[in-house]
Amino acid sequence: MAEGAGAARMDSLRRNLWTFGPLVAALFLELAVFEMIGRSQDNPGFTSFNTMMMVLNQSAIFGVMAVGMTFVIITGGIDLSVGSLMAFGGVLSATVVRHGQSPAWVWILLGWCAALGVGMCAGSATGLLVTRLRIPPFIATLALMSSLRGLGNLLTDGKPISPLPPEYTWLGRGQLFGELPVSVVLFMLVLAAGFVLLNHTRFGRYTRAIGGNEESARLSGVPVMRVKWLVYTLCGALAVMAGLMLTSRLGSGDPKIGLGDELSVIAAVVVGGTSLSGGRGSIAGTFVGLLVVSVLNSGLNWIGVETFGQQVTLGLVILAAVLLDRVKGE
């Protein structure tokens, strides 16, 4: 018995190394390269606590969305509406706060809750379109992406809502215990919850079974429609959460935020080794994938490479990650 357990543990250790080893190695390589180049430019300290916290803080918002997206992609689906949902959730809460009375924090909480509720509704609508009406997720969420973006702009007449009360910015700019950004803490909580949900619950198991083979899952009694519907609902809620974090950080309800962010999030998830054809993927992978992308951007900034150069490099990294996955598959 103990023998079997030991063998199984060795097996899963080996598989984890095989899955994440190259990615983690790439991350450390990045860190080393930027540190060295930084030093040669008389600009040391890239690998300091402060920079690393900054990197985490920057990836926190994408990260929250990426957790939801990982679930969706593992089922073999995709959600293109998350960028628009971010903006819509943000302006919705900002609108509530602006129309609110004092005390401000009551209305802020109300706004956040309303936005999260709307995010869940939007996600669950996607889920119903995909399961009950059998619309391919790409199309269903493409439609939602457009409509939600429009709704956000209609709500604010296309203009940002500002200023927001200072309490509102706690989510995006606040710090706990002096040093720890609230958004990083939130990100870690979402990551941990996502990890447990995917690996240690029936819901997570069913998510992976559906992505691996939907028909086999159905014939094994997996409630395929309900699980998929929940997955999209989760993704919608997390997209709005990310939108609230960003709105809070900016201090204004801007309907233009999140444009194109759905693609950056998908990129991070894919770099993290989650397969777009479904069935294969992990939260840990998504976390490392996010860090690889985020360290790359910050590092390039650090050594003075501007946005355009960053875009080119990011493209190459995505290709390299997918090629690496292909090689491992064989």
């Binding site: 079997g4 447990v196 819901f203 992976r208 079974a209 086999s216 899952a217």
Partner: protein, 501 residues
């Protein structure tokens, strides 16, 4: 002696952890059908993949037409005159028959890049006429039957002037009639000097069309003999390496209480008014020709497809089954015919596949109890002797018979009292077949009832207490074990047996 088309000498292939082929030699003469036999995992497919250039050998030589040949890729194999027809066809579903036959070699108008459609069709018709096959070459391939798709695959091989044709289990999905025409065609090709390597699990076929047979076991060459010098028992003994005492280990138990009864099952356009019952302790066979809708009936009982009409009773109580989930809740299980696409989640581990249908049993709150789950999986691996290095192994890396045992373990874990097996032994070797039958017996002893859908009459006759025969979507009759013979089943299956006429 006819000339040698092909010689494979000392082929060796190592996979991580397994020696898949150990110094295997094989030759093929002009104008012969050479059957390649062996259990799953014996190395037949690997050997053929090496011949077809899909995988490199670690050691050994291949001689084609007496000259050493480096088969480095499937394209190179084709140039050397080797064509391979896999079980899963390599056809493009929305292209026409003609386009598929000449895919990659389309005739063009002069030197322009445009395809000469008229000539394409003429050439394709010519190839098919030569084979004695009538088929509209303009039809898209997805409108063809499996047998017709196979003809298109053969036509592809013929049109590139292949001298060596490898067929991997060509008969697995054919009806008897289609099989007869396949054999006629194979005879025709043999007469023209083509050499055919024929892989099959159905031993009868070896005696019908084989000239010589090679048996492999555990990656080694066991023997090559003229079929005329072999008996069925010889082959089985060489394949499993021991005497197989009982191919069908039938046990007869007293018939228990009724577990399942269905009445008037109808799915419009597919089957009509199907009714029967299953009792504890018995195996009931459901047989008929391909297309008689046996699979459709069991899928509908299981809730995988919708019924237009009909009632289902479990243990005497009427139940509403609108999804597989409902069926499982009522203790009904279905082992599907196509375990790769409708049974297993190939990328998941043995453990996850075993527990998938009854995960609720292993849950506290929302969490899966990891340790207990692993113990359950390990117990089944031991009990069913599932050959896997650990329960964390992905099932896609296991052989066909082993995968079938994983599916079986899944249903054993649900404690289903009513189990429907759809072609449980398809693609499973002789040794594993017997093990599967023994497991069925074990289920019966625990008070379960088994419905076995099968096209293999010997196993239906060997294992079933009663036999239901379907013909064109209706139950054509029921035979008891005592009265059933191959002839009577066939009579009912072909619509010639109105007993109550």
């Amino acid at each position: 002696m006819a000339d040698l088309l092909l010689e494979m000498r000392g082929i060796t292939k190592q996979f991580p952890g397994v020696l898949a082929l150990d110094d295997v030699s094989l030759d093929l003469r002009e104008g012969e059908v050479h059957c390649l036999l062996g259990e799953n995992g014996a190395g037949k497919s690997t050997l053929m993949k090496i011949l077809a250039g899909a995988q490199p050998a670690d050691a050994g030589d291949i001689l084609i037409g007496g000259r050493p040949a480096a088969v480095t890729s499937p394209a190179r194999a084709r140039e050397l005159g080797v064509s391979m027809i896999y079980q899963e066809f390599n056809l493009s579903p929305f292209l026409s028959v003609a386009e598929n036959i000449f895919l990659g070699r389309e005739p063009r108008i002069g030197k322009t890049p445009f395809i000469d459609g008229a000539r394409l069709r003429r050439d394709a018709e010519e190839v098919l006429r030569h084979m004695g096959v009538t088929l509209d070459v303009r039809l898209p391939v997805n409108r063809l039957s499996v047998a017709q798709m196979q003809m298109v695959e053969i036509a592809k091989a013929v049109s590139v002037n292949a001298r060596i044709l490898v067929m991997d289990e060509p008969s697995a999905t054919l009806t008897d009639h289609e099989l007869a025409s396949l054999f006629t065609l194979i005879g025709e090709l043999r007469g023209r000097g083509m050499g055919i390597l024929y892989i099959s699990h159905r031993l009868e076929e070896v005696f019908q069309i084989g000239d010589r047979a090679t048996v492999m076991r555990d990656g080694r060459h066991v023997a090559t003999r003229d079929v005329a010098d072999l008996t069925r028992e010889d082959i089985i003994r060489m394949m499993v390496g021991r005497e197989l005492t009982e191919e069908f280990p039938k046990v007869s138990l007293p018939r228990g209480a009724e577990r399942l009864r269905v009445e008037g099952l109808t799915r419009d356009g597919l089957f009509h008014d199907v009714g029967f019952s299953l009792h504890a302790g018995e195996i009931v066979g459901l047989t008929g020709l391909v297309g008689s809708r046996r699979t459709e009936v069991v899928r509908a009982i299981f809730g995988a497809d919708r019924l237009s009409a009909g009632r289902v009773f479990v243990d005497g109580r009427e139940v509403a089954v609108s999804s597989p989930r409902d069926a499982i809740a009522h203790g009904v299980g279905l082992l599907t015919e196509d375990r790769k696409n409708q049974g297993l989640v190939l990328g998941m581990s043995v453990r996850e596949n075993i527990t998938l249908a009854n995960l609720g049993e292993l849950v506290r709150g929302i969490f899966v109890k990891g340790g207990e789950e692993r113990r359950v999986a390990e117990d089944f691996v031991r009990e069913l002797q599932i050959k896997t290095p650990s329960v964390e192994q992905a099932v896609q890396l296991l052989s066909g018979g082993t995968q079938q045992k994983v599916v079986l373990a899944r249903w054993l874990f649900t404690n289903a009292g009513i189990l429907m097996f759809d072609e449980p032994t398809r693609g499973v070797d002789v040794g594993a077949k017997t093990e599967i039958f023994r497991l069925m017996n074990a289920l019966l002893e625990r008070g379960a009832a088994v419905l076995m859908v099968s096209s293999e009459l010997p196993e239906v006759l060997g294992m079933c207490d009663r036999i239901l025969v379907m013909h064109e979507g209706r139950l054509a009759g029921e035979l008891s074990r005592a009265e059933a013979t191959q002839e009577r089943i066939m009579q009912l299956a072909t619509g010639g047996g109105r007993r109550h006429g």
